[in-house]
């Protein structure tokens, strides 16, 4: 085994890299400008629910360790193939490809705004970045880890420094005198919890790389928690900085509030620095999305939820089909300029609802396996019995209810979610019945799901007919 193992710093880098996106910095600006410092209360509620989710993921990872697909395998073993496909294709592959495309578009727009004298459209920058990250990911995990660590720790360092400068009023810009709190109304605070939830979403991307993590039993749960705490710390500092250097009204009106903050804090230097932070954020996110979605697709193909070609790997061990398809779709969306439309932002919110549903399913998976395998050894177990997974599930339902403070937007999101669910249902039913030839809601035994992770399983089994390959037997 020549492949290097990833340590705790790499685990945290992967988590922070995907959680802190440019869209998160923008959401942070929107939330803060709406109610002021009390947005931190919304963030606290959101991080508590995300930590509960991280605990559930850690228990599932302890019970079914070293799986490349993560939530797909857990759900297949608990709720059967239908829900697995709907949740994973809708909540992860579809949602994250769209979110990633929008991230790239924001990156292109940021670069174009920072370099107005160069007559290159923003989407050229976006596509170039995607192509570079496709190439690096095709070179395997070592390159991935190197990029991820450098990018993410540059990002963390920059945001912490800019947050501390703003918090301590040490910037070169003029300190703004304005109220710290715009609203203490609990309804206002809770209506922004959906937005705050998006600030912490995605830490579970650590799970698909768990089989490459040193001492995964300790580092995966620890990495999940550290990721969320680091992100919360950075974003809280930034909210204080926003209060000290940017007028709430200007912050709310800006399409790039993070760039505005950089400018108000440190002038032109701050603009360029925050632009570099945006580059780090988007590179971290897109790098993680391309890599992790490719591994998730690989894991889903291993358990027959997706076509087998997603399992193909190149000489470096990278699942190149998934990398090329996911990266290619993102490049295509950016090349057509589709990701700059307002409809796509709406689609992101819809995708996040599916993502949240995946979180609820994860909590339920923990409860199902507690019932089914009560005595199985768990190196990590969520404390207080079923209480925390239940609280986590209820909390996320509440988040979905608060996905938008505007009732009309919320209704439209629910309608679109319903339509996507209908389309995924058709795909899932056809795939499960015609290709997998299984019952829709019958769970696959845990030991069989684990066996599917073994490459030899697919040599011995023919997915379509279940035929034996006798020549390989001795």
């Amino acid at each position: 085994m020549t492949e290097k193992k990833l340590g705790l710093p790499s685990v945290v880098a992967t988590g922070v890299g995907v959680v802190v996106a440019t869209s998160c910095l923008i959401s942070l600006g929107i939330g803060s400008s709406a109610i002021g410092m009390t947005f931190i209360i919304s963030m606290v509620i959101a991080i508590i629910l995300n930590i509960l989710f991280a605990l559930s993921v850690s228990e599932l990872n302890a019970l079914m360790p070293n799986l490349t697909g993560g939530l797909a395998q857990y759900t297949l073993a608990c709720m059967g193939p239908f829900i697995s496909i709907v949740v994973m294709v809708g909540g992860y592959l579809l949602c994250n490809t769209i979110v990633g495309s929008a991230e790239c578009a924001m990156f292109g727009n940021t670069i174009a705004s920072v370099l107005p004298n160069i007559p290159i459209p923003g989407n050229y920058y976006s596509v170039a970045l995607i192509i570079i990250l496709i190439i690096t990911n095709l070179n395997g995990v070592d390159v991935f880890a190197k990029i991820q660590n450098v990018v993410t720790y540059t990002l963390i360092g920059s945001l912490v420094i800019m947050g501390v400068l703003g918090f301590l009023k040490l910037g070169t810009g003029e300190v703004v005198a304005q109220p710290m709190i715009l609203s203490t109304n609990f309804t206002d605070i809770t209506s922004l919890c959906g937005l705050a939830f998006f600030l912490f979403i995605g830490s579970e991307y650590i799970v698909p790389i768990s089989n490459r993590v040193q001492n995964a039993r300790r580092n995966v749960p620890l990495g999940l928690i550290i990721t969320l705490v680091v992100v919360f710390g950075m974003e809280t500092l930034l909210v204080f900085g926003f209060h000290n250097y940017t007028a709430w009204a200007d912050l709310g009106a800006s399409t790039t509030p993070h760039i505005l903050y950089g400018t108000m804090l440190l002038g032109n230097f701050g603009t360029i620095w925050m632009a570099l932070v945006s580059i780090c954020a988007v590179t971290g996110v897109i790098n993680t999305i391309i890599s992790s979605l490719a591994y998730i697709a690989d894991g889903m193909a291993k358990i027959n939820l997706l076509p087998k070609f997603f399992m193909k790997t190149n000489k470096k061990g990278a699942p190149y089909v998934g990398i090329l398809i996911i990266g290619g779709i993102m490049a295509l969306i950016n090349a057509t300029g589709l990701s700059t439309t307002s409809q796509l932002s709406f689609l992101i919110l819809t995708g996040v609802v599916f993502w949240m549903v995946a979180y609820i399913v994860t909590h339920l998976n923990v409860l199902v396996l507690r019932k089914r395998l009560p005595k199985a050894p768990r190196t990590f177990k969520v404390p207080f019995g079923p209480v925390l997974p239940i609280i986590g599930s209820i909390g996320i339902v509440w988040m979905i209810y608060n996905i938008s403070s505007d009732p009309a937007t919320r209704l439209n999101i629910y309608i679109l979610c319903g339509l996507i669910f209908a389309a995924l249902t058709v795909y899932s039913v056809i795939w499960v019945k015609k290709v997998m030839k299984l019952k829709l809601f019958k769970p696959i035994p845990l030991e069989k799901v684990m066996a599917m992770e073994n490459d030899l399983y697919h040599v011995y089994h023919n997915a379509n007919s279940g035929d034996h390959i006798p020549q390989l037997e001795k």
Partner: protein
């Protein structure tokens, strides 16, 4: 003090990590044998399609050690967590009573025979 014998059957690939982990746990003595055997699957590998009709003996390691009975539950939890992968073939653990243990060199018996002088 009552004594219990623990016999752990596991894959050859896990023995080195298990031995090191037991050393850190505080186990001071163990006996390891290379054995052949099969479980309820008759030696069928997890990736094979059909279960074997006749037993196929696979190479395994058998770890034997004797502990004070009061320490057995905590040790069993530790070993289970150490060996667990979720895959078929993680192993079996057998626990049985020991009526006595004798250190030949000194004639000590019971728990004294298992501890350092």
């Amino acid at each position: 003090m009552e004594l219990s014998r623990i016999e752990i059957i596991t894959n050859n690939s896990k023995i080195e990590a298990l031995k090191n982990a037991m050393g850190k746990y505080g186990i001071t003595g163990m006996t390891v044998s290379q054995v052949l055997g099969c479980g309820v699957q008759f030696g069928t590998q997890e990736y094979e399609v059909e279960q074997k009709k006749e037993p196929t003996l696979l190479p395994k390691d058998l770890v034997m050690l004797v502990l004070p009975t009061k320490d057995v539950p905590a040790f069993l939890k530790f070993v289970q967590e150490e060996l667990y992968t979720g895959h078929i073939g993680d192993g079996k653990i057998f626990v049985s009573a020991v009526t006595n243990a004798i250190r030949v060199r000194t004639g000590e018996d019971g728990l004294d025979a298992l501890c350092q002088n």
